[in-house]
């Protein structure tokens, strides 16, 4: 494994690949810093940049974009008090008050170094864990995969978001989009309406860009705030001795909270960053009253957590082909673009690509730290971009991306229709993530289910005849009935109108 990692570094450290990693980090940060653009949208918008590259170079660049986008989000949080993404929400609680007190440089430094440390620890855990997971995952069969995917569906609809029924509606919309095209097993046309354009199915990249970028632009256009909040100007980030003394422990604690959450379905970074914040508040004896008013621990811990959670996401993405967050979903789409299917066999079949990617995660993190500390004042200027240009630019690059996939105007129209759908979903509180997960995992889940039933000759027992699948279904049952259980324990709470059970 060590040897493979070294080979990966040899791949990633060639001048071309190094330049691509640097470019990825710069682009990712620049796009991620722009207000209104979270990492998922940043990654989706930047996908077309990599279309012309060979896979290894493309993914090395992608690794830079990924971490750059994450870091950019926290800069927006700290200087504008408007988190561009859910993972950076917690960073705003103390980061913005720090910036307003004139300690913006320290807040940015705490975030940048936190990202670096969290990323390095998280990626190290990825190196140690992923090959082992992949080795065991090779032996799991169709029923197990199907069970995991059902778990992902249930988790994404019932753990996140305020309303379960709206999450399910979103998931079903995604599953419907995923049905379009030829049935992989029989070649029968489904939902193509005789159109040749639709026979290949709707490209996941187009769905992702449409839902994230076009839907968001249209939604913002309907309610554009005419007076935008002023970004706080900031100098070069640095940390004094006293700050370092307060921040190093949160930096080291955060990753161990973030990494496991990143690896589980519907985990992501929201819950662990919040947990890290609470933990730092509890553990801080001297500065507890500073929390909420600009405590550096409240920036350092959650940022390291978010970064490690991003690495954890990659474990399930690379070894199981299971995206746990929106960014991972877009990355999975990028793999599929190259005809590479992430899963247990990836580490055997595409060994040099995977290890090159992992090595470039380390390189990307280092570049991120080296480039972003001096460039922070420049990034802060990007926050002042006039909003008409920002959203016009998002639509512009969304169009470039959608058109570049197949050089087909039809794709632009598909993107428009799904973009309007994204607008409606935002208006009525249907979360976007379940739809994306449905598009990506739906077809795969169907194949696994049919394969499992083929093996058992149509007997439904074929779906639950392994211990692993049974365990996963027990977890699903707990998730499904959790609201019910909670109501039994605390019956005084008024019944919420959206507690329907879902038929799986």
């Amino acid at each position: 494994m060590f040897q493979q990692l070294m080979d990966g570094f040899a791949t990633a450290l060639t001048p071309t690949h190094l330049a691509m990693a640097a470019l990825g980090v710069l682009l990712g940060t620049a796009i991620g810093v722009l207000p209104g653009i979270g990492p998922a949208m940043a990654v989706a918008l930047l996908l077309p940049v990599t279309y012309g590259l060979e896979p290894t170079g493309a993914f090395i660049m992608f690794a830079g974009i990924y971490y750059g986008g994450m870091f950019g989000g926290s800069t927006t949080s700290i200087l504008l008090n408007t988190p561009g993404e859910s993972a950076a929400v917690v960073a705003a609680i103390d980061g913005n008050p720090m910036a307003r007190k004139g300690r913006g440089s320290q807040a940015l430094a705490a975030a940048a170094i936190g990202h670096f440390i969290g990323g390095i620890i998280g990626t190290t855990m990825l190196v140690l864990l992923a090959p082992t997971v992949a080795k065991y995952a090779v032996d799991i069969g169709a029923p197990d995969f199907f069970a995991i995917m059902v778990l992902a569906f249930i988790a994404v609809t019932s753990v996140l978001g305020a309303s379960r029924i709206r999450g399910v509606a979103s998931l079903l919309i995604g599953l419907t989009i995923g049905l379009v095209g030829l049935d992989e097993m029989t070649g029968q046309q489904r939902l193509t309406f005789g159109s040749l354009h639709l026979a290949d199915g709707i490209d996941v990249v187009i769905v992702a860009v449409a839902l994230f970028a076009v839907g968001e632009s249209l939604w913002v256009a309907a309610h554009l705030r005419r007076t935008t909040s002023e970004a706080i100007p900031v100098g070069r980030p640095w940390l004094g001795r006293a700050d370092l003394k307060r921040a190093w422990k949160p930096w080291l604690r955060g990753p161990f909270i973030g990494f496991p959450f990143g690896a589980i379905p519907a985990g992501g970074a929201e819950i662990p960053t919040f947990l890290s914040y609470v933990a730092e508040k509890r553990l801080s004896k001297k500065h507890r009253d500073e929390f909420g008013k600009g405590a550096i621990e409240g920036v350092a811990g959650p940022e390291a957590t978010a970064s490690a959670s991003a690495a954890g996401t990659l474990v399930s993405m690379l070894t199981l082909g299971l995206p746990t967050t929106a960014v991972a979903a877009v990355m999975l789409a990028a793999f599929q673009q190259y005809g590479i299917q992430p899963g247990p066999l990836l580490f055997q079949r595409e060994s040099s690509l995977v290890w090159g990617l992992i090595a470039s995660l380390f390189i990307g993190l280092t570049l991120l730290l080296v480039l972003n500390l001096p460039l922070a004042p420049l990034w802060a200027k990007l926050l002042r971009i006039p909003r008409p240009y920002l959203y016009a630019g998002i639509l512009f690059f969304a169009s470039v991306g959608a058109y570049a996939v197949n050089a087909d105007v039809f794709d632009l129209l598909v993107m428009f229709v799904i973009g309007v759908l994204g607008f409606v979903m935002r208006r009525y509180g249907l979360p976007v993530l379940p739809a994306i997960i449905g598009v990506i995992l739906g077809p795969a889940a169907e194949q696994q289910m049919r394969r499992a039933l083929q093996l058992s000759d149509g007997d439904l027992v074929g779906l639950v005849n392994t211990p692993f699948a049974v365990v996963v279904y027990v977890i699903i049952a707990v998730l499904l009935f959790f609201p019910l259980i909670r109501k039994l324990v605390r019956p005084d709470k008024p019944a919420s109108p959206d507690r329907e059970k879902i038929d799986v």
């Binding site: 012309g52 709206r166 309907a222 554009l224 005419r226 008409p388 470039v400 973009g419 109108p497």
Partner: protein
């Protein structure tokens, strides 16, 4: 009459239910049309999942409608540039859609450098930018630069159109 309108306005989310019903019916009708007598491999054919998804769409449409009628409301998504206290500005949205579709209509005819500039300027105008010199200049610069970077540097082909034929 006005009370019916107000009632419907208050419950406009029922429209989402309607969309789900339409989707569900389309999926079901399309699934029933698939011939499975030949080419089917294994016990589960290409029909099963569409039928399941279609039925669930109908079920969820009903449950969502029930939720809305009982007073449940989907929470509109907030955001840093989103002011939910202001009423929805559909003029801006329609203008923006127009700019987007203009690009789709023009890209094959006049090439990306021009259609992209139209998209950017149109979108910026829709969103309230009124610099009649700066806006088109930025649009043209961005569009040509993007074309050159993607087409010549990154190897992602975009249609140049007649303009690039001249240059």
């Amino acid at each position: 009459m006005t009370t019916t309108k107000a009632w419907l306005r208050e419950r406009s989310e029922l429209g989402v239910s309607a969309v789900l019903v339409v989707l569900g019916v389309v999926v079901l009708v399309d699934a029933l049309r698939i011939h499975t007598d030949f080419a089917q491999r294994g016990p589960v054919g290409p029909k099963a999942v569409p039928i399941l998804v279609g039925s669930l769409l109908l079920l969820v449409a009903v449950l969502l409608a029930r939720d809305v009628l009982r007073g449940g409301r989907g929470e509109a998504e907030g955001g840093e540039d989103v002011d939910l206290t202001a009423p929805a500005d559909f003029r801006t949205v329609l203008l923006l859609c127009g700019a987007f579709l203009a690009n789709a209509a023009l890209i094959g005819v006049v090439g990306f450098p021009i259609s992209g500039a139209v998209l950017f300027w149109g979108a910026a105008y829709a969103l309230g930018s009124r610099h009649f010199v700066r806006d088109p200049l930025i649009a043209a610069g961005l569009s040509v630069a993007t074309f050159l970077v993607f087409n010549n540097l990154l190897g992602v082909p975009l249609p140049g159109g007649p303009l690039m034929g001249v240059l």
